[in-house]
Amino acid sequence: MNDVVITGIGIVSPFGIGKEPFVSALGMGARVKPGCLPELRETPLAEAPAGLVPNLENGCQNLDRKLLKCMSTAAIIGCLAGKEAAEEASILNRFAPERIGIYAATGLTAARMDSASKMLNACLDSEKKFSAKLFGQAGLKLMNPLESFKILPNMPPCILSIVLGIKGPSMILNPWEGQSACAMWEGLEAVRTREVDCALIGAADTPSSPSTMVYLKQMGFIADDEFPSAAGAYLTLELRDKAAKDNQHSYGVLHEIEIKNGSQQAHDPLAKELGRTYAAAPVLLLAANCLGVTQGHALVCTRGISFNFKFARNV
């Protein structure tokens, strides 16, 4: 059987944009210093820690301005991570766009409070109750049509496909760690079965957005000693023979992804350092193994799905 190797990695995390800050921080045993969200001041979550990506606006300079108007924070993070992985593995020079697939996951939809507030304010009737009629008459006029693209959960990977020009198969799942684990599994199978020549597998999630933080706290999906972090990661998979033929560096062989549907308590081995990154967590864990900054390879997802992989790192 022809082995599947990992040839490109892209990471955006609270340590910074790119895999370099991720590697150096984790290599030194550093932990993310979470901040507090200004949107949540004067609320019970005023001091709740949240991991944010620093200087994300700098990364946006490399993205198409028109597309940027349609992009949520998760889409920006995913695009930056996906581009880094694709460029490292030179996949656009080595594979036909139709032979590259995207297998990805996205997180809970994060509605932006600031953009919603004006619109919602216009929908209150004289008794201060929400009126659908007023929403149609006045609220919609205050809504940016492009906001729809920011809340549809398939958009981040679709935008990545447009940015990179990828035209092969796709599968986009939602919303927790288990779904990105399944997307990774599907990408591995797609390369193995020759459905594609290259799979871009990954996820981006923004659980530290204000509305998502409220929800995670409300439902107990985050423990008191944990904090959510925005992050994204993408990896490129291809057959070892092809990588060798092209003299393409590989990080190692991804032998197996194992997923078991169970009901265990969630556990993310990188949560102490990075915060809970939910959909991005399984991809970050595999990436951290590739980069030699962690040995952990087992994760229990929010819905109890357990994720494990067998990876042999090139040394």
């Binding site: 004067e42 939809t109 004006k118 659908a132 796709s170 549907n261």
Partner: protein, 433 residues
């Protein structure tokens, strides 16, 4: 030798009723499920029509608190129960796959504004012109963090979780968010998994509803919807010269898939066999298809290759057919390109003409309409097509159903964001067994 994958159970909730039989009977009679919106006061909207599920949809009452939050969960549960019962299955085996497609979490503006259906106490505004919502944001957050509050969001994988509560743990559960292609992808992926031997059985399909103020309003702003509010039954007109946009609908459809060998052994009714699946990305624009139809063509060609069939082997096409100008023209040209000259005598079904666009559920619901072509020996008509639009030339079925004895039907679904998916289903005849 690859395993053959057949459909042994189907379930459907649509604007034409609950259950497959009423759905088909209405389609065959050319009845439209599109009417004025009744779910909320749409009088302030430019778009005031939709394909709503009008019947009460039964579901296990233990899940009432979830359905209260997100009504489309009732559609998913009901369709899943129909399909499992139809296939005479009471639980998932270990080697079962659960794969459901949908589009977007429901954002209940009433709840976002007030925390619940009851108006909570707003803090008085401190300054003239102050934003009421922002001024009360802190108390809204406090409300949601209170133990008794309704959840702020309802994750899209809730349907999978509830279906598992009914039938036990599946080997793998997936929630596909491939927009309008989501449920077609779910079916196609499940087919590939069973064919490759990864799973022995799958419950797959889709469920959706965007018939709420934010859903309808968002699509209205994008200019994608018809505003022909006075002629609801003829508002969604796929491939017609007078088409003016899509009409949103809601519903769900689920299928049980098994290997042919398992279905035969259990003596089950076989609705059809899935023989091909293809998927592609446009990589063009977020809300418009590649004008050359490259992605659509690739998706159809991949499904043909997967099925090891030639274009001339396709005996009918179930289109994506949204009723928007660009989409229909691009799809028609892509179908002609893929089928070659055989397009002239390949009948074309466009189910959205009668039920609207069910977004994440669209592919699965339309798939069931196509499956009925085998069982009923006829294909339903495009209920609103009068004059074929320029560039939309195909062998459209108009006015009344057409007798059908073909073997292979190709089903297209093309999603927002540029995700395309195509399935090929085949009639299983005795000589095939």
């Amino acid at each position: 030798m690859r395993r053959r994958v057949v459909i042994t159970g189907i379930g459907c909730v649509s604007p034409l009723g609950v259950g497959v039989e009423p759905f088909w009977q209405s389609l065959a009679r050319g009845e439209s499920g599109i009417a004025r919106i009744s779910h909320f006061d749409s009088s302030g909207f430019e778009v005031q029509l939709a394909g709503e599920v009008k019947e009460k949809v039964a579901y296990p009452q233990e899940f009432a608190r979830f359905v209260t939050e997100d009504g489309k969960l009732a559609f998913a549960l009901n369709a899943a129960m129909q399909a499992m019962q139809d296939a005479n299955l009471k639980e998932f085996a270990t080697a079962s796959l659960l794969h459901l497609g949908t589009s977007l979490e429901q954002f209940d503006l009433q709840k976002i504004m007030h925390g619940s259906n009851t108006l909570y106490a707003y803090a008085p505004l401190r300054n003239e012109g102050e934003n009421l919502y922002e001024a009360n944001f802190a108390s809204l957050v406090r409300h949601f963090l209170a133990k008794e509050a309704r959840p702020l969001q309802m994750p899209l994988d809730t349907a999978c979780e509830l279906v598992e509560k009914l039938y036990g743990k599946a080997g793998m559960k997936l929630t596909n968010v491939g927009a309008c292609a989501a449920s077609t992808q779910a079916i196609g992926h499940a087919y590939h998994c069973i064919r490759r031997g990864m799973f022995d059985m799958a419950l797959c399909g889709g469920f959706d509803s965007m018939l709420n103020p934010l859903g309808v309003g968002g699509f209205q702003l994008l200019g994608a919807l018809s505003t022909n509010n006075e002629h609801t039954a003829r508002a969604c007109r796929p491939f017609d010269a007078a088409r003016s946009g899509a009409v949103l609908g809601e519903g769900a459809a689920m299928l049980v898939m098994e290997t042919l060998a398992a279905a035969q052994k259990a003596g089950k009714r076989i609705y059809g066999e899935i023989v091909g699946y293809g998927t592609s990305l446009d990589a063009y624009k977020l809300s418009a298809p590649d004008p050359g139809g490259i992605g659509a063509i690739a998706s159809m060609q991949k499904s043909l290759q997967d099925a090891q069939l030639q274009p001339g082997d396709i005996h009918a096409v179930s289109t994506h057919g949204t009723g928007t100008h660009l989409n229909d023209e691009v799809e028609a040209a892509a179908i002609r390109s893929v089928l070659g000259e055989s397009w002239r005598h390949t009948p074309v079904v466009s189910t959205k003409s009668l039920i609207g666009h069910l977004i994440g559920a669209a592919g699965a619901v339309e798939f069931i309409a196509s499956l009925q072509g085998f069982a009923q020996g006829q294909l339903h008509a495009n209920g609103s097509l009068e004059n074929i639009g320029k560039g939309c030339e195909l062998d459209h079925i108009v006015r009344s159903p057409r007798a059908f004895s073909g073997k292979n039907i190709l089903k297209n679904s093309f999603g927002f964001g540029g995700q395309n998916a195509t399935l090929i289903i085949s009639k299983v005849e005795n000589q095939d067994l």
